[in-house]
């Protein structure tokens, strides 16, 4: 049985940062990922990472922008921590080798980003996530003492008799071997769940595994209704066009050629926060001022050509390869598309969940620093700051603790479960059919605009699909790279996520951040300045509330 003081599940930015932080405290660390670490979805973060590093800027300003961006649902104590520690994090990354953009003096240079009152986004062209992910992986290669389990799929978390986390059960994708891992602490860093929506900017691996696994062992999920639709995604395939494009000066137009953001956010225009811009676009489209393909236009041609090549290189490729558009010469059609889950496993500012020994960091966690709406370029920051804090806390907590001895019974249960999936008659629906139906219903009813009847339809559909997912047909009977069987497990993770998202959206009878209820169009601080927590109990999901932590900033009207 492999044993580690700290076991990290997921090897994107949060996971790798956590693993490195735990190792630097002297803990024995294992890091598991269902894909090779550099395949992680942190890659897709294009625009940059926020920090108030300039002497003229202040962490308070960054924090206030984040609080306002969150529509006052973010916990201000956690936001303060994130914004205070941001500059240090950027400098650490720079020292490790991230090739951040420089200004003419050779110092770190910034670009503007949405919802921010200062240009405080540090970046590497438009491959910031990839650049940081690869540098952290370089550090993992350097620090060989961190044991990497690449292409290992975690099926469930393991607790001891007292409910403390004791490890997890994983399947080695390459040979199908199931293994019980023992760990004093487990850090979930499994990322988001965008695959439950179609289309989405999220990769195929973003199936909410960690969120579902934590939920299944009784950890509360928080703010799950808060799903971000990014303002600039391609119609059809959902591919992302970075907010950096607007940060560099690109404009939005409707089909009548009007720069419509003048109506919705006269001060910040295209750089209002994402929920505001997405709602504006969707309103234009719904009211007949979009293009026939249900889009509006993003005009990047106003950005100097040289600057596009230097700073928006990846978007040139995406436009050319996936939309057939040369963005340096013509506008590209875009629409709001599923992008990010602000909610996740509820944690404190050290990443601790309510389950002793279980931590969560990054998109799968909800600290909550993003509240109702995440600001662009705050997600990378979230992964790094809280990844590091989780790793450090877990390593210190593990010191002096004896290794747990998890029972093999659960391993055998999981082995039987997978054997059943692989061995069953092929009479049920196909994984892809259920996934397609789920994606469509979520994008129809749980998107930019929501209302009771649609949400109820979504809930009924999700619950029916949960039943159908129990008997999906599997073609692959083998053990080596049986992606078919793992797809069936991911589908179940996704449906648990979806159920909680819809329940949260039904519960919150107001409009705040990404949750816009056409039947409750106003923000209601009297009743709803609180988090919705969802916990799995014997009978199913149970809803409770927790307070939003306010420190310096009283809720006020939100205008851009």
């Amino acid at each position: 049985m492999p044993q580690h003081d700290v076991l990290v599940i997921g090897a994107g930015l949060a996971g790798q940062r956590a693993a490195l932080a735990a190792a630097s405290e002297g803990a024995s660390v294992g890091i598991l990922s269902k894909v090779h670490p550099v395949r992680s979805h942190s890659n897709a973060a294009q625009g940059g990472i926020n920090a108030a590093l300039n002497p003229e800027d202040s962490w308070e300003s960054h924090a206030f922008d984040t609080v306002k961006g969150s529509d006052y649902l973010g916990d201000q104590d956690a936001i303060e921590i994130m914004c205070r520690e941001a500059p240090e994090e950027i400098l650490d990354l720079e020292h490790l080798g991230v090739t951040f953009h420089r200004n003419e003096e050779g110092r770190l240079g910034t670009r503007a980003f949405g919802g921010a009152s200062a240009a405080r986004t540090y970046y590497v062209a438009d491959i910031t996530g990839q650049a940081i992910l690869h540098v952290l992986y370089e550090q993992l290669m350097k620090h060989g003492e961190v044991h990497r389990y690449e292409e290992w799929f975690t099926t469930s978390l393991v607790q001891d008799d007292d409910g403390r986390i004791a490890g997890c059960i994983c399947r080695n994708i390459r040979d199908g071997r199931m293994e019980l891992f023992s760990a004093k602490a487990v850090i979930l860093a499994t990322g988001g769940n965008g695959q439950i929506f179609n289309p989405t900017t999220n990769a195929l691996i973003c199936t909410g595994d960690g969120i579902a696994m934590a939920y299944r062992v009784g950890a509360p999920l928080m703010d799950m209704e808060m799903i971000q639709y990014h303002p600039t995604t391609l119609q059809g395939n959902g591919l992302l066009i970075t907010e950096g494009a607007r940060g560099e000066g690109a404009h939005l137009y409707n089909a009548k050629g009007e720069r419509f953001m003048e109506k919705y956010a006269p001060n910040k225009m295209e750089l209002a926060s994402r929920d505001v811009v997405s709602r504006a676009e969707q309103t234009e489209i719904n009211e007949g001022r979009g293009f026939p393909d249900g889009t509006v236009a993003l005009d990047i041609t106003v950005v100097p050509r040289k600057r596009i090549h230097e700073a928006l290189r990846e978007i040139v490729n995406v436009g050319r390869d996936f939309a057939g558009v040369d963005i340096t010469r013509e506008p590209i059609h875009i629409k709001p598309g599923n992008h990010y889950v602000m909610g996740g496993v509820k944690t404190d500012s050290n990443g601790q969940t309510s389950i002793p020994g279980l931590y969560a960091a990054g998109e799968c966690a909800c600290v909550s620093v993003h509240g109702g709406n995440r600001l662009g370029a705050n997600s990378l920051l979230d992964t790094l700051v809280f990844g590091r804090r989780s790793g450090k806390h877990a390593a210190l907590a593990a010191k002096g603790m004896a290794f747990p001895e998890p029972s093999y019974a659960q391993l055998h249960d999981e082995e039987r479960m997978i054997a059943e999936i692989v061995g069953r008659e092929r009479t049920g629906r196909r994984v892809s059919e259920i996934k397609a139906e789920l994606g469509a219903v979520m994008d129809k009813h749980v998107a930019v605009f929501r209302e009771e009847a649609g949400l109820q339809t979504a809930l009924e559909t999700v619950r029916r699909l949960k039943e159908e997912a129990k008997t999906v047909a599997i073609d692959d009977k083998g053990t080596v790279f049986n992606q078919d069987a793992l797809g069936a497990l991911e589908l179940q993770f996704m449906l648990d996520n979806a159920e909680c998202i819809v329940l949260g959206a039904i519960e919150r009878k107001e409009s705040r951040g990404a949750q816009y209820r056409t039947d409750f169009p106003e923000r209601n601080d009297e009743e709803w300045l609180k988090h919705i927590d969802i916990t799995l109990s014997g009978d199913g999901p149970e809803i409770s509330y927790s307070d939003v932590t306010l420190t310096k900033w009283e809720p006020e009207e939100r205008k851009y």
Partner: protein
């Protein structure tokens, strides 16, 4: 909607059977990707088709395969275009070359690609402790190495590399591009050591044969071969590293011959290579002579087969407009700084225009 026939190379390591071909018909618009086609086949027809894939946007680097014989990401190869280059109306999809196949389209990247990346000491090695704030470095230097940073480690170049086919120990295009990422980084304190190490390795810098296969297949325009050439230029021009494998001499010989004749004088290439570019040195330097002697059988074989004739060896005509060639050399030598092409600086090839 058009129908496409995907001819997929299948291999199930558990069956005991050899690899075989299986065809799948998929219906998709021509602008959709080969990956979309494979996923449609997997979703609707056979869930056991194995392929790594995730982002579907050419960022994660999972889905490199061989399509109609050429390595590419399945997610950014359009079905319509793939069919045009296909055979007998089918799009042929195989696992990449140069790496062992695990199952169907999945290859063992660890055994080849990642092992080679690890070989180049792929992490920053600054001199001394970091500054209090950031390292202050020229903006261009960061943009310059961003081209190498743009590598997504898909392995397309490794799968296509012809030198690797001949010498499996060649460090290879991706890992050497990664090496340039550190050599070109002014924050790194081991530039010379890295260059010396890679030049001295007989499977290193000079194992590349300039075939351009990696440049052609790279989905992110990293142009690995260009990075290898920059490593060579740094090694020779900046540090005067003369490796024991005559890589330096061979390159120098090439350049000198072209400068003099305009086309390759094959009979002089070998001796000049041993003489660090000079024909005279190769004939008087005892070390070079020692290296020349074992090549005699090759020379004799060349004479026998008619590939080399005494006449050809002695007389090599200059190009009629050799002056033009020399002018290129003069132009390049007259510049104070080396000119390096970098996509993050010049963008797409094509006419310059003001915006």
């Amino acid at each position: 909607m058009p129908t496409y026939s995907l001819k997929v190379r299948r291999f199930d390591p558990e069956s005991g059977d050899a690899a075989y071909w299986e065809s799948f018909e998929v219906e998709l618009p021509p602008e959709r990707s080969v990956l979309d086609g494979i996923l449609q086949a997997r979703n609707d027809q056979d869930g056991s088709i194995a392929i790594r894939c995730s982002c579907q946007a050419a960022i994660c680097g999972s889905c490199a395969v061989r399509i109609n014989g050429k390595t590419a990401l399945a997610c950014n190869t359009k079905l319509g275009e793939a069919l045009e280059r296909g055979k007998d109306g089918a799009i042929v999809v195989e696992p990449m070359g140069n790496m062992p196949v695990i199952k169907d389209l999945v290859v063992d990247m660890d055994a080849v690609h990642w092992k080679k990346v690890q070989r180049v000491v792929p992490w920053l090695l600054p001199d001394g402790p970091p500054p209090e704030r950031e390292y202050i470095v020229p903006a261009e230097s960061m943009i310059d190495i961003t081209q190498a940073m743009a590598c997504i480690h898909c392995g397309a170049c490794v799968g296509a590399c012809l030198a690797l086919e001949v010498d499996p120990d060649f460090i290879g295009p991706a890992a050497l591009a990664k090496a340039y990422r550190f050599v070109g980084d002014p924050r790194d304190g081991q530039t010379e050591e890295r260059l010396r190490d890679l030049a001295e390795d007989e499977h290193g810098l000079y194992d590349c044969t300039h075939c351009f296969a990696c440049v052609e297949v790279c989905p992110k325009d990293v142009a690995p071969m260009d990075q290898i050439m920059r490593l060579r230029r740094r090694a020779t021009s900046d540090y005067g590293i003369k490796d024991g494998n005559n890589g330096y001499g061979h390159e120098k010989a090439f350049v000198n011959i072209i400068e003099k004749w305009g086309t390759l004088h094959e009979a002089q290439l070998l001796p000049r290579s041993f003489g660090q570019g000079s024909l005279i040195r190769s004939q008087i330097d005892p070390d070079s002579l020692k290296q020349l002697i074992p090549t005699l059988p090759t020379v004799i074989n060349g004479l026998k087969s008619g590939k080399v004739s005494p006449k050809k060896a002695l007389i090599h005509p200059k190009l009629p407009d050799q002056d033009q060639v020399r002018r290129i050399f003069d132009e390049v030598h007259s510049r104070e700084e080396r000119i390096e092409l970098n996509m993050y600086i010049v963008g797409e090839s094509g006419p310059e225009e003001e915006s």
